[in-house]
Each structure stands twice: as structure tokens, then as C-alpha cells.
Amino acid sequence: MTEVKARESRWITDMNHNENTDGTWRRDASGGSSRRGFLTRMTGWTAASAALHGHQAGAGSPTPRTRPKTHRRLRVALLATEVRRHSHAQHFIDRLVEGYGWEGKHYRPGIDLVSLYVDQFPIGDLARDRSRRHGVPIYPTVAEALTLGGSKLAVDGVVIIAEHGEYPRNEKGQTLYPRFKFFKETIRVFEQSGRSVPVFNDKHLSTTWAECEEMVRDSRRLEFAFLAGSSLPVTWRVPSVELPWGMDLEESVCVCYGGVDSYDFHGLETAQCMSERRGLGETGIRSVWALRGTKMWDELGKRSSTQDLVMAALARSHTVRPPDGYGYLPPTWDHLRKTCPEAVGYFIEHRDGLRTSMFMMNGLVQDFTYAGRERGRGTVISCQMHLPMPGHISTTADFFNPLVRHIETTVVKRKPVYPPERTLLTSGMTLAAVESLHRGQVPVATPEMAVTYDVGTESTFWRA
């Protein structure tokens, strides 16, 4: 408890200084109070929300708990749904045990993978091969993987990769991956052991808002670093650009591909990792509206500024499907509609007026591109979040390299590289979009998503 007070006290101290991490002072676009000063007021305004979503564990926040001084290498457990060629778990496990290319070298992580829990063993399973090859035991339960077969937590970090595998779908079309189940079993071990360690959760948090909230709340309650999300925010960008911290952003657009309750999350993370850097930080989501096919194209047709950003994003794509007989032609609206008549679009209103739109244009593109416009000046920032996808242009899915690196940093420093509120919100946007489609493509109000958070000035994507 002493440590909790120390963190709160330090945070309040920080909140009272309108100072950037580089020591300079800055004011928001209105010329008024600083971004952090504004968030102080927001925290009071949404006190209940702040207790849950508060900014204490944001990437720029102080971390009072320091790693115990020890010379031993830190150990992590990995909980997976299945491990097969090109499953997410295979990518994470292999990077932890074999290493990966990083900053011009083959880098071997400074943490050790010491245990696995694997839920399913499909044809082509690689879990047993990796276990045998690297001497990492597979335990029959989550608890045993975390305690290494003992009675108390015996690892320094937990990596949850509950993507892929055979799991049921509900009436909304959501695949019920056991992320929440793995997480809560982890929490149980933490509680029984009287201590907690950093946790990484791959992709969105869970399939209901209540569960997503509970996961973040647990991380606050038990005071552990919680990192989550997609590789999109941290992979290469082409060109290598960052949204200027504090920019007065008017609108964000992501154009990508994939399915509902799947790659939509990646598209939303693509946009959110840029949007959260805007003037006042993230202020939460007011509503989400998902549309498909003709309805989507008709709605997009009414939004000329969004159309401009769609084209700016497509100008960064390397995979625009050309008309027959051509290698590349600049896309036209007519070509877009003909190529992907069943495109899905999410139209999202943030509480401060920012608009985010995400389009899955299957058949047109196979990459993730972003464009955002600055209010007033009209400056457009755009790039591709580059995913060298196995089977397409690569063999090793190296966009997982920076994510694995961030996991290591989170475990070693006991501090998330970026705040879990990002993933809480992108999970929430995904859930609300699924709900919107389920209810017949109607707007869904999201008062529960009054989640505020701030990020530091530093960039966390791959650029060296």
C-alpha cells in the first residue's frame, strides 16, 4: 500500500507541472492550459471513469515500483491458444527463444521463456516441437505455467497470445477466444501469490466491454504493468513519419482489409496510435457506426473530407488492385466501388469532436494505410503501417519484432511502453462496431467509453 501512495503522490506532482518530458513548456492549440492541465480537469470531471481508466499508468507516467535488484535473467510464461506455422503464438515464441532482427543485429532477448500453456494442439502443431527443441515445458494449466508447477507465482512476466484456434462464435459473429479466461486465471495466481508481474495481451482485450474494463481495472488494482494490442502501431511506417505530438487533429482515416472482429481491430489501432497524440490527448468515444456495402458507400459519399483522406491513405498503399491488364493505376471512386462492393466502414465520433473512420476494402488492398488531417491548416499526415506478411512478401512476419521488444521492455521496466487505455478503447470500438452491425447498421452510443488517457512525446514504432 505504501507503494500505491507513492505512485499517486508522484503522479499528482507530475500533473501539477505543465511541462513536457523534454523540459519545455507547451500550451494547447487554443492557447489555453496545457494538455496535462486539461487532463487534470478531465479527471475530475470523469472521476469515476478516471478511477478505472485514469492516466496513472500511461506511458509517460512515473513508475514507483522498481525491479528488485537481481542479476538473474527475468523469466516469462506464455499462454497460447495454439502454436502452428504463422499463428501469432508461433511468431511470439520463436522470437523469444530464437531472437530476431533488431537495429542491425540478430538480437537475443534478455528475458527467458520458461513455460508454456497451450490450449489446443491442431494438426501441424509446433508447440511440442518448440518445447522439445528449446527445453520449455508445456504445463497442463495456466496456473502451473505461471508457478512452474509449484504453488506460487514463479515468473516475472506473462504473455497471453489467444489468437487463432478453434473456438465458438456467438450470435454477433465474435470468435470467443479465451483471452479473458487466460487473464483471469493469471489474476487468480497473482492474488494467491500476493504479488503481480507485467502482462502482455495480444490483440483486443475481450469480447464484452465489461470484461475489457475488468482487465484494465485488475491491472490497476494489483498494480502490474499491462501492455496490450496489435503490431500495427509499432511496425515500420512508410514513410517513417509520426503525428506531431499535440497536433490539433480533425480527422483520422485508416484504409485496410480483413474481417469484422478480426483485422478491424488492427485498423482501429492504426488510427488510434496516431489520434491519441493529438492536442488534448484521448478524450473517449461518443459513438460508433458500422456500415457495409451500399450503405457504407452512400454514407462515405456524403463525407467529402473523409473521401479526401481515403485517397491520401490509398496513395500510401503498395497493393491497390489495378484494373485488368495494368500493374498500377491511380484508384478512382468508380473502381473502388466496383472492386469492393461489400466494403465495411466504421464511423467513429470521439468526445472532443475528432472523427475516426476505418474502412476494410477487401479486394482492393492488402495493407494498412493511414491519413489524418490537421484542423485549420489542413495539413495531411499519411503513411503505410508496413506489414511484411508471410506468404505474401515475407517468410517471418517481422512486424512482431518491435512488439516482442516492447514486451521485454515492459517486463524489465515493469512499466507499459504505451498505456492499456489505447487497447481498451480500440477493443471497445471493435465491440461497438460489431454491435452496430448486429443491430442492423445503426449508430451505437458509447457513454461507457469516456476513457481519457495521454501518451508521451516519444514514438514507439520501428524506425531503426
Binding site: G101, H106, T395, D398
Partner: protein, 343 residues
């Protein structure tokens, strides 16, 4: 940007290979391409082509869709053009000298010509072509995609930092491998081979022995391969990452490895390492004068878009519009000399 100022652009190519420079540049001249997130429109009022090996339906489609002018010969295609792109024949790094002279002679004074490859395969021919172009008041430039494509990461070129040693990993037959090697390495420094000295070629096991003897650097190879996202072998089988150099996998995977080692004026040494079977992308590593190593993948986006050609089209179109080359004019002579030293 100078779009709209050009009246006529022309492409002279043996065929419309897909993927390849001829089709990629022709379509961008006809219909536009994105640059700095903005779609640039058609590059000129008239776009003409002479392409004897092209499929008739491919030309007819472009005539119908974009008013492409199909010329009966290269002189007709080039006549009166503000800008002309010459694409070398398949399997050749440079156009035949007499062919280049012919098309240069029909360009109008003040026009420009771009060779999508090397300007010439011999130093003397490159110098002659530049001399002829100058006498005709024609501006002459050359390069293929690899000189301008994306870099992961976007490392700074090392002209100012002074390169000490560089290594590039490529694939393909000797022509493809050495052309890619030159195009990839050349932007890094002012690299001219030592006059009168040929490059040293090592093949098969001699490649590894040369590395062990310090002819080329394993450190640079490790740095270059750390940028690959297309390792072969086990990665293809099950997606795993591997320390290809540290685990001795390179030697096991390499199929007919070749290393071209060149000593350059000023003491710089470069190695073009053709490693088919090890990786399937182009990666470069450079040691600077202070010993620091810089590395990157020279990323060539996949077909059909071949989006790297957006960049080459931008460089070529700006050059046609009057902008200076993005590199010294002596580059083409130095490259031809280097090519000659490799041959």
C-alpha cells in the same frame, strides 16, 4: 513539380515485361501515380511507345484507355519528345551503344533521356554517350528501381559520412545480381573502382574462404541479413526466426554463392554477395570511417503495383521537367567503369 509542362514523353523498350521498368513507367506516364500522398496526373499530353515485343492487346488497351501512341520504330517514338525512357533488352544491364546514339539523335534539343538501367556497359561508351548528349543539348540520366526504392529503416545515405566498407546481399543470375548490387551500393558513396584493376569474383566454397580471410566482412553480412524478412530454409517451413550467420545457416542454404569484391579509389571496399537460397530480398550494410555499421533493406514492394516505381517515375519526370539529377553527373561513368571491372 512540373506536371503539365511536358508535351511528349516516349518509352522505347523491347517488351512490356510485368514486373519491370517498361510497363511500370509507361503506365505511370499515362495515368499518374502517387507522390507524397498526392496523386499526380498524367505526365504529358502525348505518350508514345515503341515496344516490338509487347502483346498487341496490351498496347491496344492503353491506346483505348489513355490514347497511347504506338510508334512503328524507336526513332518515331522519340521524335520531338521532351523526355525519352530507354529500357535495356532482357538480360542486359545497358542499351547497346549504337541504339542509344540513334534515339538520342532524334530527340529535340533541350530534351532529356533516361536509361532504366546502366547508361553503358563500358566506361568509354558511357563517356561517349554523355559527350554526344551534351553536343545535342540533351540531358542524360540513368538508374533502375533499386537506386531510389524504399529503405527499411530510412537510413541516411553515407556520402557525407564517408563509407569505409559496404556489402550488399542480392540474388539472381550474374547480370541481375551485379546490376542490383551496383544500383544498391552506388548511392552510398562516391565509388569508383581503382583504375585498371578488376573486381575479384569468388564462387561456391571460395566465397566462405574469402570471408574467413577478410576479403569481405562477416559482420556486415550479419548486419545486412538482420534486415531480411524473407529468410529461406526453416523459416519457409515453419515461420521461425533464426540467426542465419551465428548458427552457420548461410553456408548450408546458399546455392551457387558468388562474391564480387571491388577495391575503390580512396580505399573503400565493396562486396556484392549473391546468396540465392538464403534470403529473397536485397539488404545492405555499410561500415563508416568510425567503425559504425549502418544497415537497411532496400525494399521493393511486390507486383502488381511495384510501388517503388512511384519513386523512380517521380525522379524521371522531374528530370524531364528540368530538375537536376539527384546524384553527381559523373555517376554513370563511374558505374560503367565498375560494371566493366566486374565483367
Amino acid at each position: 513539380m512540373i506536371m503539365g509542362k511536358l508535351n511528349k514523353l516516349a518509352v522505347v523498350a523491347p517488351g512490356l515485361a510485368k514486373p519491370g521498368a517498361s510497363l511500370a513507367l509507361l503506365d505511370r506516364f499515362l495515368a499518374g501515380y502517387p507522390e507524397d500522398a498526392v496523386f499526380r496526373g498524367r505526365a504529358a499530353s502525348e505518350v508514345s511507345v515503341f515496344c516490338p515485343g509487347a502483346a498487341p492487346e496490351a498496347l491496344a488497351r492503353r491506346q483505348r484507355d489513355f490514347g497511347l501512341v504506338v510508334a512503328p520504330n524507336d526513332e518515331a517514338a522519340a521524335a520531338g519528345a521532351d523526355g525519352l525512357v530507354v529500357v535495356p533488352a532482357e538480360g542486359h544491364a545497358a542499351p547497346a551503344p549504337d541504339h542509344l546514339q540513334n534515339v538520342l539523335s532524334v530527340l529535340k534539343p533541350g530534351g532529356a533521356c533516361w536509361v532504366a538501367g546502366l547508361l553503358a556497359a563500358r566506361e568509354q561508351d558511357a563517356a561517349s554517350a554523355l559527350k554526344l548528349a551534351k553536343s545535342l543539348q540533351i540531358r542524360l540520366g540513368a538508374s533502375d528501381l533499386l537506386s531510389v526504392t524504399f529503405r527499411l529503416p530510412e537510413v541516411r545515405r553515407l556520402r557525407s559520412e564517408r563509407c569505409r566498407e559496404a556489402l550488399i546481399v542480392v540474388q539472381g543470375d550474374d547480370t541481375r545480381a551485379t546490376l542490383d548490387g551496383l544500383q544498391g551500393l552506388k548511392p552510398e558513396a562516391e565509388l569508383s573502382p581503382v583504375p585498371g584493376r578488376t573486381a575479384r569474383l569468388y564462387e561456391n566454397d571460395m566465397v566462405w574462404r574469402a570471408g574467413a580471410n577478410g576479403e569481405w566482412s562477416w559482420d556486415l553480412l550479419a548486419a545486412a541479413l538482420s534486415r531480411s524478412n524473407n529468410p529461406q530454409g526453416d523459416a519457409v517451413a515453419d515461420g521461425r526466426t533464426q540467426d542465419l550467420v551465428g548458427l552457420g545457416i548461410v553456408q548450408r542454404l546458399a546455392q551457387r554463392p558468388r562474391a564480387w569484391v571491388t577495391d575503390h579509389v580512396g580505399g573503400v571496399r565493396t562486396t556484392i554477395l549473391a546468396l540465392d537460397g538464403v534470403v529473397r530480398d536485397v539488404n545492405i550494410a555499410i561500415r563508416d570511417r568510425s567503425g559504425g555499421i549502418h544497415s537497411a533493406q532496400l525494399y521493393r514492394p511486390p507486383a502488381p503495383n511495384e510501388a517503388g516505381y512511384h519513386r523512380l517515375a517521380g525522379v524521371v519526370t522531374r528530370f524531364f521537367g528540368g530538375e537536376a539529377l539527384p546524384w553527381p553527373e559523373t555517376r554513370e561513368i563511374e558505374l560503367a567503369a565498375w560494371w566493366e571491372a566486374l565483367s
